[in-house]
């Protein structure tokens, strides 16, 4: 079991309000990702859930029990940190077993649970080593192992992949996804990388300036962003956000994803000249200068376009988003 309910959580440091009233429900076994730009409060929210910070007001319920005054070790959680945070003076085995030892579990049980976790993460060869003798990827696997050994209700990940290089990041991401399927545990994961969020999550929580902007599955967020912020944050390259007035539209802002625009050399809705072309192999990204400002277009496959050439861009029907002055979506 591992459900989580957050009710109107607020957190202030002095006069600075970091969290301004967060309500959220996470169901048992869900993989939930908090995503947002730096300073949006996502890490603080995770720390409040973990009990490393006290909320200024509001309630946290894990499995229906209010845990506001429960110390971190008794909340049934485990956390994986960005900087691994392994105990430098302990071997891999002792790093993984320390939590259970503190909880007073018998040695045989600790050994068994450590063995299961190390097999799951193929750490068997490193059990007697110290953290300083491991590579970054191995260290993060040990940190994940330390979380698994505790058999928590709730896994908390605080940007676990940020310190790894690109190739390791993909591998570890796959590993975390596999673990989630295998353990069927509830996981909460914080990242600023929307690709990680889209690939891993059952449910994404987009945070901005201490508030929740939108909660939904990755595809809901992609297809039905409720605010300009979510529209701009989810998706890469970023959605084109154009001033409605310049297009003769009543909406304040009009958004079109780069992949929902077609180009033609002869005719189309908007005329523009090519500023720059990026060839990514599978994709070609065009940057156009139009009369209403810059426009990014994503074409699939390889295309040859000359810089300074004139092109006409046409948005796909029904794929444009219109937002009002407050940044909320306008249903048409």
């Amino acid at each position: 079991m591992g459900s989580l309910k957050i009710q109107d959580i607020r957190k202030s440091f002095g006069h600075v309000d970091v969290l301004k009233g967060i309500d959220l429900e996470v169901e048992d076994g869900e993989f939930v990702i908090f995503v947002g730009p730096s300073g949006c409060g996502k890490s603080t929210l995770l720390r409040v859930i973990a009990g490393l910070e006290d909320a200024t007001s509001g309630d946290i319920l894990i499995d229906g029990k209010r845990v506001n005054n429960t110390p971190p070790a008794k909340r049934g959680i485990a956390m994986v940190f960005q900087t691994y945070a392994l105990y430098p003076h302990l071997t891999v085995r002792d790093n993984m077993g320390l939590g259970l030892k503190q909880a007073g579990k018998p040695a045989a049980e600790i050994k068994e649970r450590t063995a299961i976790a190390s097999a799951m993460l193929s750490l068997d060869d490193y059990l007697e080593r110290r953290p300083s003798e491991l590579s970054g990827g191995q260290r993060q696997r040990v940190a994940i192992g330390r979380a698994i050994v505790r058999e928590p209700e709730l896994f908390l990940f605080d940007e676990p992949l940020s310190n790894l290089d690109a190739a390791l990041r993909v591998n570890t991401r796959l590993e975390i996804a596999r673990l989630h399927r295998q353990l069927k545990a509830t996981m909460i994961y914080v990242t600023h990388d929307q690709v990680e969020a889209m690939t891993l999550a059952d449910k994404i929580v987009v945070l901005n300036k201490g508030r929740i902007e939108q909660v939904g599955t990755p595809m809901e967020l992609y297809n039905n962003p409720q605010t300009v912020f979510v529209a701009g944050f989810i998706g890469s390259p970023q959605m084109n956000l154009i001033d409605g007035g310049k297009l003769g539209d009543t909406a304040k802002t009009v958004g079109i994803r780069p992949e929902h625009i077609q180009v033609s050399a002869k005719e189309g809705t908007w005329k523009g000249s090519v500023i720059h072309v990026e060839h990514l192999g599978a994709d070609t990204i065009l940057y156009l200068q139009t009369e209403f400002g810059p426009l990014t277009v994503r074409l699939f496959g390889e295309h040859d376009y000359e810089v300074d050439g004139v092109l006409y861009a046409t948005p796909d029907k029904g794929r444009t988003y219109r937002f009002d002055a407050e940044g909320k979506i306008v249903r048409s």
Partner: protein
């Protein structure tokens, strides 16, 4: 390891300067040691000469050791220094941990207040300290010295350790909290091992003034049972006659323990086990 850009000539100059400095710094020690092995007339006839078979004499050491109480003086110095260092490190580290780890009202002010002692010499308060010791009946006890030296060492210890403890990763401490370590275990088992080089620095800076101090032993604990080695050596310096053999021998002997302690701590200075903890 020399950087590839440094020419041998430049490196030579740098080393020359260092060698000269070392010679100047070591010269008084060298003079003390060689003269402690010479007889009295040789000390005055040829103070810079090495002890030759003809001038070699252990009379200074014999006097010092025959004086009888010197073992006790050594013991006193050793107890005072070791216990003071222990308390300075313990309380200094605890205060520094609280200042660096916990957010509370007046945190910065408290830190400044604790560091104030670096700027104000404790000797200004000698009269008040003496009155206090008399009132509590602690005059002529080692406890009096230990208390004073602990107070003297704390400001610098808190200041240095506070800075170092800020560098210990928050994630590591939080990982400990989630694993169920108490704040005390986090302090003793996670943080202290990581700031060991800083602790060694503080220990060395605390130790040397305490070992060499003449002022407080003379004022607070001049009795024969509580004399420290520095104070004890003064018996050979008279108003009219000074037994130089004995003074030099006593000073030479006094160097040895402090050298041993220094070597113990400096090993720690070099060895850091932070590697691999974070990043």
């Amino acid at each position: 390891m020399a950087r590839p850009t440094a020419s041998p000539f430049r490196m030579g100059l740098v080393h020359l300067a260092l060698v000269i400095y070392t010679l100047i710094a070591l010269f008084p020690v060298f003079l003390t040691v060689i003269n402690s092995f010479k007889d009295r007339s040789a000390i005055f006839r040829d103070p810079l000469g090495l002890p030759m078979p003809k001038s070699f004499s252990l009379v200074g050491y014999e006097t010092v050791l025959k004086q009888g109480d010197f073992a006790l003086y050594f013991q006193n110095s050793f107890i005072v220094t070791a216990v003071s260092i222990f308390f300075v490190l313990l309380f200094g580290a605890m205060a520094a941990f609280a200042l660096s780890e916990y957010r509370f009202r007046g945190n910065t002010l408290m830190g400044l207040y604790l560091a104030l002692g670096i700027m104000i010499p404790i000797r200004l308060g000698t009269v008040a300290i003496l009155q206090g010791m008399v009132a509590t009946g602690l005059v002529n006890t080692l406890t009096a010295l230990i208390l004073v030296y602990t107070a003297q060492g704390l400001p610098l210890a808190v200041f240095i350790l506070n800075e170092f403890m800020r560098t210990v990763s928050d994630d590591l401490k939080n990982a400990g909290r989630i694993d169920g370590l108490s704040e005390y275990s986090i302090f003793f088992r996670l943080v202290l091992p990581l700031v060991r080089p800083a602790m060694a620095t503080v220990a060395v800076f605390t130790m040397i003034p305490i070992w060499n101090d003449l002022w407080f032993p003379l004022i607070l604990a001049p009795s024969d049972a509580t004399k420290t080695i520095t104070l004890g050596s003064q018996v050979f310096i008279g108003q009219f006659v000074t037994n130089w053999n004995a003074v030099l021998a006593a000073l030479t002997l006094a160097i040895v323990p402090v050298l041993v302690l220094y070597m113990l701590f400096s090993r720690q200075l070099i060895r850091g086990i932070t590697a691999g903890a974070v990043k």
